[in-house]
Every structure is written in structure tokens, then in C-alpha cells.
């Protein structure tokens, strides 16, 4: 509802606050109310009811359609933004199964609360930050995911669970069960979690033996009390090494904070004898989004100056929005890196210098432009070399025995050829609208198609090295033979240039 309101305000057609407003989704028997604003709630509109019924109840109700997919995407972005408080965050999404759930975020704040001077102050801070974004929130801290879920939705404001007895008065809906199970439990006279927990486990297990794990009250109860583990699994693994810079005022340019962040991160990696292979700079924007840029290193590195240099040309690509107030530098991929010794002359190692060069070039021009050529055991010339990542030791070099040109065209170019014999060398040929008269030739060298990876109709090639009277040396080939049953007359191509 609040996201919808923000979007309406951005479009410039915000409704007054005293206008009852509901968002609807399609249901089996017509649209169903999905969310309501405060005025509509006071006039009796409830979520889950049909829109036509609510129109009868509240005639001036305005109805719009809800954007559930957009809500989910926004929640996932917000979960990433919530990494400003603690590293383990995920969006939990119980809309389909659970009665009165709604969306939520789950944060594993273990070890993070002291950074915010205690749990109470952390919750206050979170609520303030979220309200700055225009979202109202209900927050709770509890030892398990289930308990926090229940307290946030059905407990007091900013509840902090110290004892599991706090959960006993909550209704059974707070166990994250679906509507049928809740109705069944209510019919059995079990209205609160405490009354459910007082029952013997054996009879509960027997009664709900066929229910799935998400609908089984016993499993849900164990998850709430922590007897069954239920870890928070974020969409991507939080990094081990991270350095933060909290700013008093939102800014637009992170350049000046980068050297200190790099130095801090490198200090942490040096303690663990690790070096970064990839680095990620994240800015937490004031509009509830995050922006990231990533750089990579060819060899693990923990030199602050080098790492800061890699970001130099890319900082302008970060989208600062309306400013950001938290910058974090993370190392998602690290590798062990021992202490490094400079040689006696004070210089550094050659491999290290080349890896720095590779990093600088790839950071500037992209990952695909730079490659190291390495030989591949294949007779087909265009397959005889491969573009690989730089700085990786090449396997044993396998050069073919016969002569190969120094330059190879990316695609062989067809030439028009005059020959004395169809099987013999060309006497004249025309390439790029210029004629060449062959004086000397060498060949043919026959290269058969590689039947294990070529298509069945591929023709063999007869390569000739030819020289014209001015000394231009080319590598030509004739594709196929006359009457080999794989197409018409053989065609001639120019494939390479000799020195």
C-alpha cells in the first residue's frame, strides 16, 4: 500500500489521506481486497474480502489493482538494502499459504546488535530508517525465525523476546499455518500457542501426521522454540571481509572514502592471510536501493593502492540516486595469500607486476578484450589456438611441424582463382579487387575435417603457400575436391598471410 502511494506521488496524482483506498487482486469470484489504507480500515474494509461487498459497505471506496510482482521485487531489493544493519538478510514471502502474513524481512542480527548499542536502539534505528523511506514497519527480535515472525505480527510494538513464555498468549495464526489448519485448531479449542504447547507431543504428532511440514503445528512450534533449526538463507553468500564507512550526510561521490576503505579491508585480509580476487563496492542509497560495482584481480592482492586504482575509472558508473549514506567495500572471493617479500634490489616480482597490469587493463577495457593465446592440439588452423585468461600457465606447447602463417584472417575470404589443373595450385588469383600472379607455390597440405566435431558435409581443405612476383606470401586453400559429392565446384579461400 505504501509503495503504491509513493508511486502515485511520483506520478503527481496523490490522493488525499481521507479518501478510502484499497488495492485488489483477482480472485476466484471477482476481485479481492489485497491491501487497504487507514481510512478504509477504519470504515470496515478488511483484506481478503470481495471488492463488491466492500463497495456496499463503504461506497466512496477507491479500488486499484495491486502489483504483487513489483512488491516482491521491491522487497528483495529492500532485503539487500537491509544489509546495512547486518550481513545475513533475506526476504520471506508467505503470501500464498499463510492467513495474515504479508511480506517481511528476516535479519540474522547475531553479533550485530552491539554495533547499534543494544537491541532496543537497533530496533528504533531500523524503524526510523524505514520510515524515512516512507514505509511503516513492525519489528521484533527473537531467538528464532518463527518467534520473531510471530512477535512482529502479533506481539507488542518493537517486541524483544527474552523468554519463550512471551509467546504463549499469541494466537495460533502466529505459527505460520494456513487457513485450514488454523480453523481446525480453533475448532479443537486451541486458540493460543500456549494451549497448543501444553498438549502432549505424541497426540499432536499423531493428529497431524499427514500434514506437510509447513502446515504441521508441531513442526512449526519446534521451529519457533528453536528445537528444529531454520537458518536464514540469503540469496547470495555474505562476504567474510567487509569494511564500512558510515556518513553523517548523504553524498554523491564515494571517491574520497575509497582509499581508507581499501586500507581497512586490506588490514583485515592481512590478519587472515588472504588476498582478494574480487571486490564489490556497495553504496546504500537514501531511497532504499543499493548500487554496486565489482572489480576483479588476476592474482589475489591486498595492496590498498592497487585495489583503489582498479575502481578509479568505474566509480562514475555507480548510480548514486539521490545520495547515499553508507559505503561498504566487500571481498566476495578471496584466496590464501602469504606474506610477500620484495627482492634485495627493492623491485617486485615479475608475475605480480603482470597481474597488476592485467587487472588495470581488464578493469578499464572489460574482461573480454584481453586474452592470452595458447596452442590447442588441432590441425584445423582456426582451432589451433585458444583465447584464455591471462596469467594461467599454459600447457605444453604443441606446434605443428609444417609451416603456418604469421597472421590469420578471422574469417577466410573467398578469392577468384585461375588454375592450370583443378587439383593443382592456382596460377592467378584475385583478392580484394587486386590480382596476384603466382610465381612459386608450396603444397598442397591436406587438412581433413575433424569428423568428431565437424558437421557431416564439411569438405577437406588443401592448403597452398603461394608467392607472387612482388614477394607477397599468402596461405590459400581449396575447399573440397572436384566430384567429392559434397557440393559443387570447389571454392578457394585466402586464410593467412606469411611474413
Amino acid at each position: 500500500m505504501e509503495r503504491w502511494r509513493k508511486i502515485q506521488e511520483q506520478w503527481g496524482n496523490a490522493q488525499p489521506d481521507d479518501q478510502p483506498q484499497a488495492l485488489a487482486v483477482g480472485g476466484a469470484h471477482g476481485p479481492v481486497v489485497h491491501a487497504v489504507n487507514r481510512v478504509a480500515h477504519l470504515s470496515g474494509v478488511t483484506t481478503g474480502a470481495r471488492v463488491v461487498d466492500m463497495r456496499a459497505l463503504c461506497p466512496q471506496l477507491r479500488v486499484d489493482y495491486a502489483d504483487c510482482e513489483g512488491d516482491r521485487a521491491a522487497l528483495e531489493r529492500l532485503a539487500l538494502w537491509a544489509r546495512r544493519w547486518c550481513p545475513w538478510t533475506a526476504a520471506d514471502d508467505w503470501t500464498a499459504e499463510v492467513v495474515s502474513g504479508g511480506h517481511g524481512l528476516v535479519l540474522d542480527t547475531t553479533g550485530s546488535d552491539h554495533l547499534w548499542r543494544g537491541e532496543t536502539k537497533m530496533l528504533t534505528q531500523m524503524e526510523a530508517d524505514l520510515s524515512m523511506l516512507g514505509f511503516s514497519s513492525r519489528l521484533a527480535v527473537a531467538p528464532s525465525w518463527g518467534a520473531a515472525w510471530a512477535l512482529a505480527r502479533f506481539g507488542p510494538v518493537r517486541a524483544i523476546c527474552h523468554d519463550l513464555a512471551d509467546l504463549a498468549p499469541l494466537p495460533v495464526v502466529a505459527l505460520r499455518l494456513d487457513a485450514e489448519t488454523v480453523l481446525l485448531l480453533n475448532r479443537l479449542g486451541l486458540r493460543s500457542i500456549g494451549s497448543l504447547a501444553d498438549l502432549p507431543r505424541l497426540s499432536l504428532a499423531r493428529r497431524f501426521s499427514r500434514a506437510g511440514p509447513a502446515q504441521n503445528p508441531l513442526i512449526r512450534l519446534d521451529q519457533m522454540t528453536g528445537h528444529l533449526p531454520e537458518p536464514v538463507s540469503p540469496p547470495d553468500m555474505p562476504p567474510v571481509f567487509r569494511a564500512d564507512a558510515k556518513l553523517a550526510e548523504p553524498i554523491l561521490d564515494p571517491t574520497h572514502h575509497l582509499p581508507s576503505l581499501c586500507a581497512e579491508l586490506c588490514g583485515r585480509m592481512a590478519q587472515a592471510h588472504q588476498g582478494a580476487r574480487r571486490l564489490r563496492l556497495t553504496v546504500y542509497r537514501t531511497d532504499g536501493e543499493i548500487s554496486r560495482i565489482e572489480v576483479a584481480c588476476a592474482l589475489p592482492s591486498r595492496e590498498p593502492a592497487h585495489l583503489a586504482f582498479l575502481f578509479r575509472d568505474r566509480l562514475e558508473r555507480i548510480n548514486p540516486g539521490f545520495g547515499f549514506d553508507l559505503i561498504s567495500l566487500e571481498a566476495p572471493a578471496t584466496e590464501p595469500l602469504g606474506l610477500q617479500q620484495v627482492d634485495l634490489a627493492g623491485g617486485s616480482e615479475a608475475g605480480l607486476e603482470i597481474s597488476h597490469l592485467v587487472d588495470r587493463l581488464t578493469a578499464r577495457f572489460g574482461r573480454t578484450t584481453l586474452a592470452q593465446l595458447r596452442p590447442v592440439a588441432s590441425h584445423i588452423p582456426e582451432r589451433a589456438e585458444a583465447r584464455g585468461a591471462p596469467m594461467i600457465d599454459a600447457p605444453g606447447q604443441t606446434y605443428p611441424v609444417s609451416e603456418r602463417p604469421q597472421r590469420l584472417l578471422d574469417h577466410p575470404e573467398e578469392v577468384r582463382v585461375l588454375y592450370a589443373m583443378p587439383e593443382g595450385p592456382p596460377a592467378q588469383f584475385q583478392w580484394r579487387r587486386r590480382g596476384y600472379r603466382v610465381t612459386r607455390y608450396q603444397g598442397p597440405e591436406r587438412i581433413a575435417p575433424e569428423w568428431w566435431q565437424d558437421k557431416s558435409g564439411t569438405r577437406l581443405r588443401d592448403y597452398f603457400k603461394v608467392e607472387d612476383e612482388e614477394g607477397h606470401r599468402f596461405w590459400l586453400y581449396r575447399e573440397g575436391l572436384q566430384g567429392d559429392g559434397r557440393g559443387g565446384a570447389p571454392r578457394w579461400f585466402l586464410h593467412g598471410i606469411f611474413a
Binding site: 607486476e353 587493463l361 578499464r364 578484450t369 592470452q372 588452423p381 603456418r404 612459386r440
Partner: protein
Amino acid sequence: MLRMDAPSIVQARRSASRAPQADITLSEVFPEPGAEAAAIGFALTRLGSGAAPVLWIQDRLAQRETGHPFLAGLGLQRPLMVMQLSRPADVMTAVEEGLRCRALAAVIAEIRGNPTAVSFTAMKRLALRAEASGVPCWLIRQAATADLSAARDRWRIATLPSTCNPDDPRAPGDPRWRVELFRSRDKRPGEWVARHERGAANRIHLVTAVPDGALAEDTGAVGQRAAR
């Protein structure tokens, strides 16, 4: 070692002090049309031996017109890092970045035509950086006119008919090029016929192309080797 490659250069002379040595600075090579592969061979044979990698940067036009360096034909004993960029300005930036790395054997860049990015100032930067870091830099200027430049050595190279192949009289033998050093800061310009001896030796024999009678028969040696 005496080598007589053609009858017209029997009297050719070679002097060690005048002969261009492979030195560490910015050099430009202007291949004639059709001699782009000869420029590769010439630049690579002048690098000397070693195991340090070579950084090879091409702009897109040069790659599309004349292809990319082919590892199997080059027969290099060192790693070859290739980089393909679309704009000549990017090539100049990448060359300058590469020249900061002392661990490279050389930076070789191929640029086609006379783009504005290859200006006198940009070349001067490359020359100073190459001399400061001790990494030779070769600019292969395909299809370009030799206008104002800060390169220390400027070469022009063209193909010549190859030598006789001892194994097969109809086949081309060792490649020969006409190499001209037409502008140099510290060497004497000249024109040579270079013969690239392939195989295990892999060296270049330079013979002055124009018989110079004023130079007396002071030295008997004709060939000059650039072993690698």
C-alpha cells in the same frame, strides 16, 4: 660470416656501429600494403631472447583487414597476450598502461590509418614512458602516411621475393624484406635487404641494399645477425 644473397649486393658493406641494434624506445614501422605480416616478423625477431610476455594490442580495423597474430606461425617461446580494442584512442591508452609494467618484453600495437589519437603528443608520451620503464614499444602503422611523429626510430618495410628453397625449387624459401630506416634519432638511416632465417637459427641477416662505393672495403662481413 659471409652471406651473398643477391648478385647486386656483393659489394655491400656492413658496419657494426651503424647497424641498428634492438634498443629500448618507441619505434614505428610502416609496412607497405601486403607487408603487414612482415612487420610482425621484423618486430618479433628484434626483441631478443627471453621468457617475458609480449603484449599485442590491435585496433578493430587492423584486425579485420589483416587478421590477428597466429600463434602456430609465430613460433614464440614466450607468452603472447593479445588485446583487441575498437578505438585507436583506447589502443594508445592501453599501450601507455602496458608500458608501465617493467615485466613485459615489449608492447606491440597495430593501428590502421592516421587517426587523430595517434598525435605527436601521444607518441611523445609513449616514447618517454618506454624509455623510463625500459620496455621497447613498437607501433605498426598499417596503411598510414608518415607524418609528424615523436618515434625515435621509423622504419618502412616491404616484401621481396624469397630466397631459393634448397629442398624444392618451385617453393618459396626464406622470406626477404626491404627494410628502410628513414628517420632515427641516434642511428644512421639506411636501407637493407633483410633475410629471415627461419627454423632453429631464427635470425635476420641485414645487407645494405644500395651498393655504396664510397665506403671502402673495410670490413669483410656482410651479414648482421640479430639472434634471439
